[in-house]
Symmetry: C2
């Protein structure tokens, strides 16, 4: 099955800053979408919304401090349901390497190509948040298309 894979290197005092930005509702609100609600705890559900354009419900499967965050998609577009999204953190000199995987896509549909590019922009938003204090979460996200509903 095809996967979406990404990596960014984030300058940070420790792995903790990038980890907290992925493991907390406040952090996620500051780099992915400012419409983030729910409980970031194992077996909790986090709801990500994007104005009137729908969104995703993620069940939290793993929260391993400073090391790993794993979600499974419980609600959202058909293609996303059941897929898993992981963030792995590791120290690399003065940076934290963040390895990202969105796995379990049934087919490499065109929507998957779009989501791959869009994930890259959000991971760069995460990098910016940790390094500068300011990310580019929805509705200030980087546009990769001209169709309003898919941005």
């Amino acid at each position: 099955m095809p996967d979406i894979l990404h990596k960014v290197g984030i300058k940070s005092p420790s792995v903790n800053e990038p980890y907290q930005a992925v493991a907390t509702i406040k952090g996620l609100s500051d780099w992915w979408t400012n419409e983030t609600q729910g409980e970031s705890k194992v077996d909790g559900t986090i709801r990500f919304r994007f104005g009137g354009n729908g969104g995703f419900d993620m069940k939290v499967l793993e929260l391993d401090p400073g090391k790993r965050v794993l979600w499974q998609v419980a609600g959202g577009p058909d293609e996303w349901i059941g897929t898993k999204i992981s963030f792995d953190f590791k120290r690399e000199g003065e940076s934290t390497g963040v390895l990202f995987k969105h796995q379990g896509w049934k087919e490499p549909v065109e929507f998957m190509h779009h989501c791959s590019t869009k994930w890259a922009t959000f991971l760069l938003s995460l990098k910016s948040l940790v390094e500068t204090g300011k990310g580019l979460p929805y509705p200030n996200d980087v546009m990769i298309d001209h169709v309003a509903s898919i941005r």
Copy 2:
């Protein structure tokens, strides 16, 4: 085998502007790396360089005007040799959809994660070039890491 997949939507008068930006040495120089040389013709070789950080030699396999560009990697990092890179263009309203694939990776190594994210930034550079006349090719590329040699 794992693939890198991306899609951007580029506002353009026709498919021709994005196509030309991928099918010509001048276009490639303006969004990927300003150290681009060679011949963009079928069976020709294009050499992409990035200062002292090496680069890639691509053999041109297909040039289908307004529709498709296909390269095969003939020189570069071991993981890239033999892989294929394609750009497919199609009209979508006032935009051109560009579907990108970098296929034939043997393993989903960490370097592949990095390249996936970096390709996204270059495809957004292509989008910017066509829409605004200005891209962000090397050495003005978007940094996704803090290790100088892999940026």
